[in-house]
């Protein structure tokens, strides 16, 4: 594909983004259920409970995420962090409580739920790129099949986001030809292509070698500085300290502590958070 002049690409991009906005705009009658725009809550979780048969994974979780804020969720393994963010984009169901995305309560209305979920991007620990598709096709599949863009339009947009994660030159390779860090950056670009208003990260650097962690965290930090609303499950405390507005500490299915990074790292109030930080920092 011939490289497009940056200005032209930019213009096309804007056109696509406008196009996408109109595509995801709800029908007129659905507007009745839309939130008033003054409500700046991106995510509102109240009284969330989830059981895996007898096992109580999430116990009475309540969490509010304002638009543009960055939340880091940490805690020992098995504490329910991943389950929680998987509930937010509907990959897991839950038995009690409500999750509201941008004013739309999940599960109330199938069409609106799909709509709300579509505005949520997800990045997985194991990347989950499609191995049979090139990097570029990984990014364009949803643009073409969900947003209905033409191949050329989708590729232009995908190339833009691949540049944003610093790997435009890998566009025509297959995922397995890339390093772990590169694969995870492709996964981030793939999610960004759908123009999400909220990004969920499920331990994005846990499967990576130490030297690749930085390149992924750099991309995530840049994303945070762009004002993206983010919820990250991660053990990268340096990232939490630098980027997070709020650190949420979970243990045994409950939110045990919720504080600003400064408070959380210097004076954690809960003993379990203290011992967790001790093991992590030493």
């Amino acid at each position: 594909m011939a490289r497009k002049a940056p200005r032209r690409l930019h213009r096309e991009m804007n056109r696509h983004l406008e196009h996408m906005d109109t595509m995801t705009l709800p029908l007129k009658k659905d507007l009745l259920f839309m939130p008033d725009t003054q409500d700046k809550r991106a995510v509102d979780i109240t009284g969330l409970h989830k059981w895996y048969s007898a096992f109580h994974v999430l116990k009475d979780i309540s969490l509010t995420v304002r638009q543009g804020s960055r939340i880091v969720i940490c805690g020992p393994s098995g504490s329910g962090k991943s389950t929680l963010i998987r509930c937010i984009n509907g990959l897991e169901n839950y038995q009690q409580g409500t999750i509201t995305l941008d004013g739309i309560r999940l599960g109330d209305n199938a069409k609106l739920t799909t709509l709300a979920r579509r505005q949520t991007g997800m990045v997985f620990q194991s990347f989950n790129l499609f191995p049979h598709l090139t990097v570029l096709s990984n990014c364009t599949l949803a643009l073409r099949k969900v947003s209905g863009l033409s191949r050329a339009d989708a590729e232009g947009l995908a190339q833009h986001y691949l540049e944003k994660v610093h790997i435009p030159e890998q566009a025509h390779k297959f995922p397995t030809q890339l390093s772990g860090g590169q694969q995870q950056r492709v996964a981030i670009a793939r999610a960004l292509c759908m123009n999400p208003r909220l990004m969920l990260f499920d331990e994005p650097t846990s499967a990576l070698d130490p030297e690749m962690i930085k390149e992924v965290l750099d991309v995530m930090t840049a994303l945070a500085h762009d004002g993206m609303t983010m919820i990250c499950v991660t053990h990268e405390m340096g990232f939490a300290r630098e980027v997070a507005d709020e650190v949420v500490f979970m243990d045994q299915g409950s939110i045990v502590e919720q504080a600003s990074p400064a408070t959380f790292f210097s004076t954690p109030s809960h003993p379990r958070a203290r011992s967790f930080l001790n093991t992590l920092l030493h």
Binding site: L91, F130, A142, V146, R190, M194
Partner: protein, 219 residues
């Protein structure tokens, strides 16, 4: 009565004249069995009432002989007002019978796909059908090219069953020559050699396909 090479060679054109019918039945049978088998497997996976029905159907198909299917379709269906031509019954029978086996092959191929794949598609908002077509099916094919090819060869080798319905395929043609001349060795050997050649061509094709599918994911 020894093997008469000249007679064998003389019978080649007559037997080869039926190769078109054999290939027609084999190719449409493969296509029918693969598409039907895939639909069966997808329905089985969806679960629910239909899923249970399909699960039973697949076991039922695999536990009954092909000949029973052919006879039933050809001789019993007309009693219920559905009279199909011998060729239609042949293709339908092969498709039905092998769809049960291919459904099992597809199951193995889909089971081998990591759970994260459909999850990633879902997180991107890709619809279920699109996920099956663009994410699941291609990866499944890559996993099962070899066993699927085996069944394609089996389907080819099962086409002589259609002789019982007087479909003019290769073995039937060879047998006609044999019963007219009372010489069995030559026409049957020729038919066997042609089947062998076709089977080898198919398995080479499958190997090529396997390499091609693997090439798209260098490990």
């Amino acid at each position: 009565m020894g093997f008469d090479l000249n007679f064998a060679l003389a019978s080649v054109p007559a037997i080869l004249s039926a190769i078109g019918m054999t290939l027609l039945v084999a190719v449409t049978g493969c296509a029918g069995a693969a598409s039907l088998g895939f639909c069966l497997e997808i329905t089985r996976r969806a679960g629910g009432f239909a899923g249970y029905g399909v699960r039973f159907l697949i076991d039922f198909i695999r536990a009954t002989p092909l000949l029973v299917w052919l006879y039933c379709l050809y001789f019993i269906l007309p009693f219920y007002g559905l009279r199909l031509s011998a060729l239609t019954v042949g293709i339908l029978g092969l498709s039905l019978y092998y769809s049960g086996y291919l459904a099992e092959v597809f199951k193995a191929g889909i089971d081998a796909i990591p759970k994260g794949q459909p999850e990633a598609a879902r997180a991107l908002g890709i619809a279920r059908l699109d996920t099956v077509i663009f994410v699941i099916a291609p990866q499944m094919l890559r996993n099962i090219a070899a066993p699927m090819g085996n069944y394609f060869v089996s389907i080819l080798k099962s086409t002589p069953y259609l002789a019982v319905l007087a479909v003019p395929e290769m073995l039937g043609e060879a047998f006609d020559i044999a019963s007219e001349t009372y010489r069995y060795a030559e026409p049957l050997t020729i038919a066997g050699i042609i089947f062998l050649t076709l089977a080898l061509i198919i398995s080479q094709g499958v190997k090529w396909l396997e390499r091609r599918l693997a090439a798209s994911t260098v490990r």
